[in-house]
Each structure stands twice: as C-alpha cells, then as structure tokens.
C-alpha cells in the first residue's frame, strides 16, 4: 500500500460519512458549470440578453464561489475534527507531521477531484435541459448545446483553487493540536452544559428587538434601520443557539414534574448537549436557510409584479405626437409595417387631443372625445363611457392618481373656450402611459369637444393639439421586435429621467415586458439554483453531524434497549432528538423569513402596490415540504443504523 493508496482508501472507505458533503459539493460544481456554460454561450445574439445573462451569471458565480469556500472550509474542519483520534493514532504510530499534512492534502484533493469531475459530468449532461429552460424564459428561438473549453477551464480552475486553499488551511488547523489532545478526540462528551446567562437573555432580547424594529419600520421605511435589523438578528441568532436555548432547557430541567417524563428526560438532556455541540452549525444553517428562503421569495415576488404589468399597460403599443413632430406619419407607417411583418393583427385607434386650461387647477389638460375613447375601450374590454353634455371623466395615469385624485365631483371651466364641465369621477382602469401624455387627461362628451375651438392662451390653434395613437395587438407578447429603433431613441434620449426632449413618445409594453420577464426569470433561475445549493449544504451539515455522533448514539440506544425500551418508544425518543436538530434552525429561519417578507411587502407596496403574500406563502410551504421529506429520509437511515447494532 503506497501513501497515495492509503489516502485514497481513507476517502473511498469513508464515503458514507462523506456522502452528503460530496453531494453538496458536486451539486455546487454542477451549478457553477451550468452558469459558466450560459455565460460563454456563443449563440445569444441579442446584446441586451447577452449582457444580463453574463452579468447575472457572473454575480451568481461569485456568490456561489464565496459560499462554497465557506461551506468547504466548515465541512473540512468538521471532518478533520471528527477524525482527530485517527490522526493522533497515526502520529503515535510514528507518522511525521509533514506526512500527516501530505495525507490530509492528498485526501482533500481526491475529494476535490472527484467532486469536480462528477460535477462537470452532470453539469454537462444537464446543460441541454437548462438551455431549454432558459430558451423558454428568454423567448429565444434556439439555444443549442455547444462545446467549448472555456466553461470547463473556468470550473476546473476555480474549484481546484478552492480545494487547494481548503486543504492548506485545514492542515494548519490540525497542526495546532498535540497528539494527546488528538487522541482524546476533539469532541469530549462530558455532558457539561454551560451557558452564560447574560448572553442567553441578550440573544432573546436582540431577536425580539429586531422583530419589533421590522414592525416599526413598516410605518417608515428606513434603509439605515434595515442594516441595524440585519445586524441585530444575526447576532441574536448566534446567541440564541449558543446560550438562549440552553438557558431555556435548563429552566425546564429544574421543573421535575415537567421534566421526568418517559421521553422528555432524554430528549431535553440530549437536546441540550446536541445544541451546545452544534450551536455554530445551527447558526450557519439558520442564516443559510434564511438566505435561501429569501432569495427564492424575492424572486418569486417579481412574478407578482409582472402579472400586474399588463394591467398597468393595457395599450399594446402607444405613440403620442406633438404638433411639431415631423416623423409622425413615417413612424406610424413604420410601426404598421413592422406589425404586418410579424404577422400580427392589430387595431389602430387615433385620438385627436385638444388642450385647454382648467379653471379649477389652472393647469393644462388633455381633452379626449368620448367616442374615440370608447373605440379603444371596446377592444381593451374595459367599461364604455356614456357622458351627458357638460360631464367629464378623469383618466388616471399613475397609481398616485388613483389615490390622490378626488372621487368627488368637481366643477371646472375650460377657460379658453369657456366650456363649463362637471368632472363626475375617474375611470377605474389605466389606459394611457403616464410619460406619454404629459398633462392630466379628461374625457368629454363629443358635443363639448366640438365646442372647444379656442387655442391655449399664447399659442396657435395647431400648437394646442396633439395626437395619440393606440395600437391594440391581441398577441401583445409577440411585439418585442416591433419599434425596436424607436425604443432605442426613447432610451437614449430619456434614460431614466421623466423629461422627454422628443416631439413624440413611444412605448411598447410587449418589448419592455419581454425584457422585464427575461431579467426576472433569469433571477428566478439563478436564485433557485443558488438556493438549492445552499439548502443542500445546510442539509449536509446536519447529516454529517448526525453521522459523526452515530457511534456514540448507537451505544446509548443499545443501553436503552437492554433497559427495556420498545422499538416504538425508541422511534419516539429518536424523533424527540432529531426534530430539534432539523427544525430548530429551520424554524428560526422561517420566522426570520416571515419578518423579512413582511418588510419586503411594505417595500413592494411603496414601489408598485403589489401583494406578495401568496407567493411568500407558497415559497415557505415548498421549503417546509422539502425540509420534512429530508427529515424523514434521514430519520429512516438513522433508525436503520441504530437498530442494526
């Protein structure tokens, strides 16, 4: 047996212990590889998609690398701790420290090599599938599988570097210990449960403060406060696991009437030991799970937003033209041609808009003829308007209008033409995009419209008009290739400002929607995969800790069985010991996420009046289902192991 073979056997024959760890790191390599396949894809021609694909993947890759580094480091040091007895024995038998270091280095690199190879293999095997998903999300025509050295090289270089960093740092970790300490084993199960009272109380206080601050900040959202909340919650979580739980358990243990119960006695006593030994792991799992829940939650909340998008932008293509617009006819011709080119049926409604000053607000208002408006309302399937002479209806163009515009009737006069009108209410749907219409828009009776003959004060008759064109396209999602150059003009001249220097305004919600949809879908896709990696890693921590404690637990259950514990009772005892380990971090992560979602909801309401409660509930339920199935899977294996003895 050569030295290399020894290292190899150590890994392969311990593969059961390493199983979950292998799975998590293989999955992480796989996800990383799929991302890099996308990043380097040569067939994404659309520059914009290229940019978001590249940018999105890059960020996801960086998050993945940082997390994997952390995860690998934590797992490796836990592995080495668990094997410290073995290392002590090897040193005792005369192995040199340098040899031991080489052994650990070799083992880590073997694990790394296997993870990278298998991960890339699975990643490549699944990339066609992922490309299909991406193609659907981006509405691309095709996204073929391709072969290039780049994604392979990137994945191999990145993960090889990671594993080298890890193996060197774990060698440092072992070096610090003396043989005697190693032989004794890193974890001494002396049963002592120590906690520091003030830390225990501080943990609970911090968590409550963080939660209360969330509720307070709902009234007034404050970015600075958010950071404080995150900080408080993180520290609070740490103390909660390191001290608070032990404190709570010890309070229960003092009450024998509660505590001396067939299953509680063991559950609480064992529970406090497990919590003490695994406090840091619980903390990590809680934070990681919270992040996973949140990333999925945030991303799914975008879907709510996109579903409301159509409601906010009912007109498929909108073009408004000022009197001095020289391109009006050319643009409309072009749009019609492009719609025909795409084989899209459409209906074009033209609005001749007159401008007058309203006496009540002393502002310029747009006037639209009732009949013209109704000819748009028919295809949009929004309510028709029936106005008597002298009546008018306001058309809201922003969320704010809905809230602020008075519902009450308002008497005003169109000053230049001296036409008195009574505003009888507001239209209950959005119709025109707010940026395109500049002024407040009012629908008036055709007869009143005819009576408006005078120009705005200080302007000519021609200057007091503008024209709106509304294209109604039933298949509005397919208009993403219509008016692309006009859209570019709008983006280049307006940027993100609200000031439009052009004599016209153009908006194609179908095009914007496809961009928003692509961006959010990409976020969802990356978010889900990263969350899956995080969850797998969290699961692997729990699995590994259970496995390293298995020998000790086996012995205990053996004693219990001799003492006459039936199999059913054994399962009950196992449940009471496993459930806290699985559901304590998970439960706290759930509470954290719930409060974060409440906060997110408040932010969303401010931004777009979107309710994300349904999506959040689904996300939390989905994660609960995953966690419960994982629990049953592990419990099944665990019970099989302890009963095998």
């Amino acid at each position: 047996m050569t030295f290399q073979q020894f290292a190899y056997h150590n890994v392969i024959r311990n593969s059961r212990v390493y199983a979950a760890f292998f799975m998590a790191s293989i999955f992480s390599v796989m996800v990383f590889f799929v991302y890099s396949m996308l990043m380097f894809h040569p067939n994404i021609e659309d520059q914009f998609l290229r940019d978001i694909a590249f940018g999105g993947m890059l960020i996801a890759e960086i998050i993945l690398i940082i997390f994997t580094l952390f995860f690998l480091f934590y797992s490796m040091s836990a592995f080495l701790q668990a094997r410290s007895k073995e290392f002590g024995l090897l040193l005792n038998l005369g192995m040199e420290k340098t040899q031991l270091n080489r052994l650990i280095f070799l083992e880590t690199m073997i694990i790394g090599a296997i993870s990278i190879t298998v991960g890339i293999f699975w990643g490549f095997a699944f990339s066609k599938f992922f490309f299909m998903v991406i193609r659907e999300l981006f509405l691309l025509d095709n996204l073929p599988l391709y072969l290039s050295w780049k994604p392979f090289a990137l994945t191999i270089v990145v993960f090889l570097t990671l594993f080298i960093i890890i193996s060197i740092s774990s060698v440092v970790f072992i070096r610090k210990n003396e043989i005697v300490q190693l032989l004794k084993g890193y974890w001494k199960h002396n049963g002592q449960v120590e906690y520091i009272r003030w830390k225990a109380i501080l943990g609970i206080v911090l968590l409550f403060t963080a939660y209360s601050l969330v509720l307070i900040s709902l009234i007034q959202i404050n970015v600075f406060l958010t950071f404080i909340i995150i900080l408080l919650a993180t520290i609070g979580t740490y103390f909660f696991f390191s001290d608070s739980i032990l404190f709570l358990i010890s309070q229960i243990r003092k009450r024998k009437n509660l505590y001396w119960h067939p299953f509680r006695l063991l559950a609480f006593a064992e529970g406090s030991i497990k919590v003490r030994e695994n406090a840091r792991m619980f903390f990590v799992v809680t934070i990681v799970s919270t992040l996973a829940f949140l990333s999925v939650g945030v991303v799914t909340s975008f879907t709510s937003f996109t579903s409301q998008y159509r409601e906010l932008n009912p007109v498929s293509i909108f073009y408004s033209s000022e009197w001095d617009n020289p391109f009006e006819e050319a643009h409309i011709m072009q749009l019609s041609h492009e719609l025909q080119r795409e084989n899209l049926s459409y209906e074009l409604i033209k609005f001749q808009v007159k401008k007058q000053t309203s006496s009540s607000s002393q502002e310029v208002v747009n006037l639209i003829k009732e009949s013209e408006f109704n000819s748009l309302a028919i295809p949009l399937k929004t309510p028709l308007i029936d106005l008597e002479q002298g009546e008018a209806i306001l058309v809201p163009s922003t969320q704010e209008d809905f809230r602020t515009l008075s519902q009450q009737e308002e008497q005003t006069v169109l000053e230049e033409s001296s036409v008195p009108i009574q505003i009888v209410g507001q239209y209950k749907h959005f119709v025109f995009p707010s940026l395109g219409i500049k002024n407040r828009t009012i629908i008036i009776n055709d007869e009143d419209y005819r009576l408006v003959t005078e120009p705005l004060f200080g302007y000519g008759l021609k200057e007091s008009t503008s024209t709106f064109y509304a294209f109604h396209v039933p298949e509005w999602l397919r208009t993403k290739d219509v008016g692309v150059d006009l859209d570019k003009i709008m983006i280049n001249t307006m940027g993100t400002s609200n000031i439009n220097p052009n004599p016209f305004y153009f908006v194609n919600p179908g095009l914007n929607y496809s961009i928003i949809r692509a961006t959010f879908s990409l976020l969802l896709f990356t978010g889900l995969l990263v969350a899956a990696v995080l969850l797998l890693a969290a699961g692997s921590f729990v699995y590994f800790k259970l496995y390293t404690d298995l020998e000790r637990d086996k012995k205990q259950y053996d004693v219990l069985r001799r003492m006459g514990v039936t199999d059913q009772e054994l399962v009950k005892i196992v449940n009471r010991q496993l459930i806290p380990q699985f559901f304590l971090p998970w439960g706290l992560a759930m509470v954290h996420s719930t409060f974060s979602f409440i906060f997110l909801q408040a932010v969303w309401v401010d931004l777009a009046a979107v309710s994300i409660a349904m999506e959040m509930l689904l996300v939390l339920i989905a994660f609960t289902v995953i966690q419960v199935s994982y629990f049953y899977l592990i419990r099944w294996r665990y019970i099989a192991h302890i009963q095998a003895s």
């Binding site: 199960h189 001396w260 119960h261 006695l265 063991l266 004693v559 219990l560 069985r561 006459g564 199999d567």
Partner: protein, 249 residues
C-alpha cells in the same frame, strides 16, 4: 440450551449448558475469554436468542413473548450493570438512576422518593446533581447499580462490574451487591474474571468453550472459597487473564 452463531464459519458459543438459579441467589460465572460467558448473559438478558433450549425467568419464558412485551419484561424484571457503566453522559447521577422509572411513566413523587432512598443506600446523595464525567469510577458504578435497582427487578445481570475499577472501589461495589442480595433477596448473576469478585458470591459456575466445566459453592469463609476458586481456575487453564496470585488478607 445451545447457541450457534451462524456465519461463514459456524461457531458453537454455548453447548448444551443447563443452569438453574434459585431466587435470591448470588452467582458468578467464570471462564476464560471466548468461553461463552457474555453470550450466556445476553441470552438471559433476552437480547439474544438461543439456537435451541429454553429460559424460564420467574416462571415466564421470554422466548414466547412478543417483541414489545419482551421490552416491558426487561424493563420491569431485569436490571443491568455493565463493565464500563454505560451511564448516559447527558443526564445527572439522579437522572440516570430514575431513567428506568421515567421510561415507565411512573409518578414523579414516587421517583423522587425512590431515588432519595437509593442514593442514601448507595452513598450518592452528595453527588446527585453531578454529571457522569465529574464523578469517579466507583461512584459511576454505584450510580449504575442504583439505576439497575430502582425498579426492584427480579434479577440483576452484571457484566464484569468491577472490571474498570480500582480495588477499593471494586470492594465497595461488591459489598453493595452482596447487601442488596441479602437485604432485598434480589437474584444476581455476575460474569467476572476476577476471583476476588467471584468470592463474594454464593456459587461460582465455571464454563469453558461453551460447556459446563465445574461448579463450587461457598462455604463459611470467603478466604477458603477464594482459594478454591483459584484452584479451579488453574485447572481450567486456558488464558484466564486475571489469574492472580494475590491472597486475600
């Protein structure tokens, strides 16, 4: 009874051994390593099943009991003392002792009463709140005896109870076992290597290669009983690990 361990090479652990233990008897089983002592104890403990033959404990044949009833039988009729104590590290001394009662769902008041009584009896009152890691081997073994006694079992099965103890602690433990045996008429079956430990018993059964070898009864003096045990052990040959030449003073 006979016990054969199946496997690639079938191993005859116990060969047609017959043993009768009177109620209230304190009996030691001795024999070289691999003679089948532990197998015998495991079969009496009902956690192992003989290939042929029967066991009767207090008129019950545990082999005929269903699995759950068997567990209940162990819980109520048997008490165990192990070489390495097997106390649960998470529990205090007191909690370790009441464990069999809590598993049985007994009222807390009763448990408190019993544990007080037994702790006094075993001189553990001062360390009730300590953890197994904080007490000496002798104290740990006394705790284990307390755990084995608290539910007043019919039989106590002790597997090398003094194997991990120094001679002073071993003497304490053996005296306690003797007292328990005499005062509450609890039957004790003890497997041991140690002739001194065996000399505390009423009867010593020697087995070799799974078969009955010899049996001696205690006479008036422990000194001569000890000497006779040594004589049998030297006859027994094999590799009796602890065949010591010490004399009892």
């Amino acid at each position: 009874m006979t016990k054969v361990y199946e496997g690639k090479v079938a191993h005859l652990a116990i060969n047609q051994l017959s043993l009768e233990v009177e109620k209230g008897e304190f009996i030691a089983v001795m024999g070289p390593s691999g003679s089948g002592k532990t197998t015998l104890l495991n079969i009496i403990s009902t956690i192992d099943i003989p290939t042929s033959g029967d066991i009767l404990i207090n008129g019950t044949n545990p082999l005929h009991l269903a699995k759950n009833d068997l567990s209940l039988f162990r819980r109520r009729q048997l008490g165990f003392v192990f070489q390495d104590f097997n106390l649960l590290p998470a529990l205090t001394v007191e909690e370790n002792m009441v464990l069999p009662l809590t598993l049985d769902g007994q009222p807390v008041e009763l448990m408190k009463e019993k544990v007080r009584e037994i702790a006094e009896h075993l001189d553990l009152t001062a360390i009730l709140e300590k953890r197994p890691s904080e007490i000496s081997g002798g104290q740990a073994q006394r705790t284990a005896i307390g755990r084995a006694l608290i539910h007043e079992p019919a039989i106590i099965l002790a597997d090398e109870p003094t194997g991990n103890l120094d001679s002073k602690a071993a003497k304490d433990v053996l005296e306690i076992l003797t007292r328990v045996n005499q005062v509450s008429q609890t039957t004790i079956i003890m497997v041991t290597h140690d002739p001194i430990a065996a000399s505390y018993c009423d009867r010593v059964l020697f087995i070799k290669d799974g078969e009955f070898f010899n049996e001696i009864y205690k006479d008036d003096r422990r000194q001569t009983f000890f000497q006779r045990i040594l004589n049998v052990l030297s006859l027994l040959g094999g590799n009796v690990n602890d065949l010591s030449t010490i004399r009892l003073s």
